[in-house]
């Protein structure tokens, strides 16, 4: 593909590489782009990626594994779009995604990305685990199959398969049961929502998945969806409507907030914990939901909520978006964003690092272990904290 054929060929040169995109709102740290934080080379900054993409399309540089690594290390956390002072900001991630798409179409993507996509195609999940195992979590938790209840509870691949995330998925299910919410889940019939596939530039596969998913949900009569993962929430809320999928979608923290307001959820167990909350990118920057998770935490007795210095739209991504949760292109260093992030959490004096995303849960918990902070900081999903405060252990 030439620059002229690139969808964003008329604007990609507009990045000055001024570097605002590296910062949080308050400028406290130049490391708010997770890939730049990890590698600290200009090539891994947002501007570096745009300039390299343009150079590649203009044949000034050749495709290499390293170029693909640079592009795919972008977690689509949206920090760059929030901070870029230029009018092109709204298309920065579209440009990165279009560059990945071109790599996909040329069959030149990182091995880890290829493995991810292959597993999605083969098994409907990135774990290479058979679809038949996808419903194990709900059987363990006693969650009903979806049969026209008010809400479909979509847990997503990580919530369904990862041992640790399944605990959060189950706790949320039990909590919703306790509140009398009418809901069911699809178990082994639940499809991958495709958010990561989309951000990895596999447009064809994404479209196929979305169309199949919409068809499935429509055939089941689904009107309202609750998600465990902000990634699922983002895809269903922002991408599915383009393909005709119109569902009332809630991230579970939004539903919990409503249940608390309606007096249907009454956390009573005094928790006596100091909590700091990590904003997931696909709930925060992508969908501007910063308050519901905090509101839920504040309603739990004995929770003292303290903020990390980088919070809300300045939050530092854990490094798991854009398929990086599975590809792990940002791991393996003290500079990995998750390992930086847990130290920020610790600096608040909190003993609980609360999350509202199964990917964040696992990445940050791993980071706590690697950094040897197990005795100082525990990572928990808000669903788990809320459930425990309702006596669900």
């Amino acid at each position: 593909m030439s620059l002229a054929d690139f969808e964003y060929g008329d604007i990609i040169h507009r990045c000055f590489r001024c570097g605002y995109c590296k910062f949080p709102v308050n400028w406290m740290d130049v490391n708010n782009c997770p890939a730049y934080a990890r590698y600290r080379m200009e090539s891994y900054s947002c501007g570096g990626r745009l300039w390299l993409t343009r150079a590649w399309l203009m044949n000034e540089i050749q495709w290499t594994d390293h170029l693909a690594h640079i592009l795919y290390s972008c977690t689509a956390c949206k920090n760059c779009e929030v901070k870029c002072p230029l009018g092109i900001n709204v298309d920065i991630l579209n440009m990165i995604r279009a560059a990945k798409k071109e790599m996909v179409e040329q069959g030149k993507i990182p091995t880890a990305a290829r493995d991810f996509l292959e597993s999605i195609q083969l098994h409907g999940n990135p774990y290479r685990i058979p679809k038949s195992k996808r419903g194990v979590w709900m059987d363990e938790a006693g969650i009903e199959r979806y049969q026209g209840q008010e809400y479909l509870y979509h847990v997503g691949c990580v919530g369904a398969y990862d041992t640790r995330a399944r605990e959060a998925a189950k706790k949320l299910g039990r909590l919703l049961q306790k509140c009398g919410v009418s809901f069911g889940a699809l178990g082994e019939a639940e499809p991958c929502d495709g958010n990561e596939v989309n951000h990895m530039g596999e447009e064809g596969l994404f479209e196929m998945m979305v169309e199949d998913n919409i068809s499935l949900l429509n055939s089941l009569g689904v009107k309202k969806v609750i998600t465990l993962s902000p990634h699922s929430y983002n895809a269903i809320k922002n991408d599915y409507p383009r393909y005709g999928g119109k569902f009332r979608i809630l991230h579970y923290t939004q539903l919990l907030e409503k249940l608390i307001e309606a007096n249907r959820l009454n956390p009573t167990v005094e928790m006596r914990i100091k909590v700091t909350y990590h904003d997931p990118c696909f709930l925060g920057r992508w969908n501007a939901e910063y308050d519901a998770p905090r509101s839920v935490l504040k309603s739990i007795p004995g929770v003292s909520l303290v903020e990390m210095e980088r919070n809300r739209e300045s939050s530092l991504c854990c490094g798991g978006g854009g398929g990086n949760f599975s590809m792990d292109l940002l791991g393996g260093s003290p500079d990995s964003p998750a390992r930086r992030r847990v130290h920020e959490a610790l600096a608040t004096g909190a003993n609980i690092l609360a999350v509202a995303c199964p990917k964040c849960l696992i990445i940050l918990e791993d980071a706590v272990k690697v950094e040897g902070l197990d005795d100082k900081l525990i990572v928990k999903d808000i669903a788990e904290i809320a459930a425990e405060s309702c006596g669900i252990m």
Partner: protein, 453 residues
């Protein structure tokens, strides 16, 4: 080269060295109109010790070393014209100390302007530093090394006048300290010890700054910007003199630009005021706008447009992005304030000749001892014709700055040659001797400030 790569990797670690095409490409480019030149290696050290080892290796192997801070000079000052090792210093970003009593900050060389601004706002809100009109990624040390200015330059001078001390790694690998730190007395003063001037304004050709002690200043509770406008450029110098005489403000900038259309031909002043109370603020406004400038306002030559609380952090201006092409560059002349009218008129002519909307700005330095006058030229990175025009406009402006009796701030190679062509021969000879003494193998940022035999 393989041996060199291995040796450098042994120093900085495998994550912080590259000779791959992607890094060589990115670091070959400046953000302005300078043609790219690739380094052979890019390294990103974390400590002074690592830099010391890099310098020892480079000096032994006689391979060029190009230090890079924020990379925002726009003048090609960190383009590796002769290849070699590009040293990206931004990982050295620790704020080591803020001394409240002696009002200074001790910083590693990669600390950015944004990082220090934010750190002071959060931890020492009654202290501030002179923030340049650059994006927050600009580094403190890089800005001081090129004699930058900032929003406290009116009362306190160039940002390089605010240095208490430096730690330097010499081209031959020795680590030297300058200022009171050199005798173990802390980092609170530069004087009266041997000078740091050997390393400022030399564009990294005499060594790498690894630590800097920067003076901080009182930050009053209320800070904001008053706006004043005149329509006659000939009045601007007098207004600079009148305002500076009051000694009431922190920053004075006069600017004129084609965009937005209503601003064309007018000369706006932003006058930054600071006060600890409304009473103090009112008094300062009265002294400046009623007493000093009242007559101009009454006669209808100028107008006071009000005071806006809160200082704006630097942003990419609309005129810089006028081409919508991801590129602009400017000549910053250090000029006599009296030359504002000619700087404006002649700069406007250059802009018109190259079909670029004019944008000029004069920031007062000291008590109107000088001004940094900038002529900005936007270009479109995807349109070679506009790059050519911007480059030509820059060269014409370099010559203009000298013709009007000024000098060029952070000149690129072209401007450096113009300056050296006019320089006193004995001074040139001294520069050459100093350079030979400090950098006997000529490895530091070659191409810059090269005195011909």
């Amino acid at each position: 080269m393989n041996n060199l790569f291995q040796a450098l990797m042994d120093i900085v670690g495998e994550d912080h060295i590259s000779n791959r095409q992607e890094e060589l490409f990115i670091y070959s480019w400046d953000l302005g109109t300078t043609e790219p030149h690739k380094p052979d290696f890019v390294v990103s050290p974390r400590t002074t010790k690592e830099i010391q080892k890099i310098m020892e290796l480079a000096n032994r192997e006689k391979i060029p070393v190009v230090p890079l801070g924020g990379g925002l000079s726009l003048a090609g000052l960190a383009v590796p014209f002769k290849g070699g090792i590009l040293v990206d210093l931004k990982r050295m970003d620790t704020i080591i100390e803020v001394n409240e009593q002696a009002r200074y900050a001790l910083l590693e060389c990669g600390v950015s302007q944004g990082q220090l601004t934010s750190y002071l706002e959060r931890n020492h809100p009654h202290l501030t530093h002179s923030e340049p009109g650059a994006p927050p990624t600009a580094t403190i040390a890089g800005n001081a090394a090129i004699h930058g200015q900032g929003d406290l330059s009116q009362p306190y001078g160039f940002n390089s006048d605010m240095i208490n001390g430096l730690e330097i790694v010499l081209p031959t690998g020795e680590v030297c300290c300058f200022g009171s730190c050199s005798i173990g007395a802390g980092w609170f003063t530069q004087h009266p010890l041997p000078d740091v001037g050997l390393f400022l304004g030399w564009t990294g050709t005499t060594g790498i700054i690894t630590k800097i002690s920067l003076r901080l200043f009182p930050c009053k509770k209320i800070r904001g910007t008053a706006l004043f406008v005149v329509d006659d450029e000939d009045q601007v110098p007098e207004i600079y003199y009148k305002i500076t005489h009051t000694q009431m403000c922190e920053d004075i900038v006069a600017f004129s630009q084609t965009i937005p259309p209503y601003a064309g031909g007018l000369h706006h002043f932003t006058v930054n005021l600071a006060a600890d109370s409304e009473k103090e603020l009112e008094l300062k406004q009265e002294i400046i706008f009623d007493d000093a400038l009242g007559k101009i306002i009454q006669q209808g030559y100028g107008g006071y447009l009000g005071f806006t609380p809160g200082l704006q952090h630097p942003q990419i201006s609309k005129t810089s992005d006028w081409r919508k092409g991801g590129g602009f560059e400017y000549v910053g002349g250090i000029m006599p304030v009296s030359q504002y009218p000619e700087c404006y008129r002649r700069g406007k002519e250059i802009s018109e000749r190259h079909n670029i909307p004019y944008t000029v700005l004069g920031r007062c330095i000291g008590a109107a001892h000088a001004m940094m006058f900038s002529w900005t030229y936007a270009f479109n990175r995807s349109d070679p014709e506009t790059i050519h025009h911007a480059r030509e406009a820059m060269r014409e402006t370099d010559e203009l700055a000298l013709e009007l009796g000024g000098t060029i701030w952070k000149p690129g190679i072209y401007g450096q040659k113009l300056v050296m062509d006019r320089m006193d021969p004995n001074t040139l000879e001294l520069m050459k001797k100093i350079k030979q003494l400090l950098d006997p193998n000529g490895i530091m940022n070659p191409g810059n400030w090269e005195v011909k035999s």
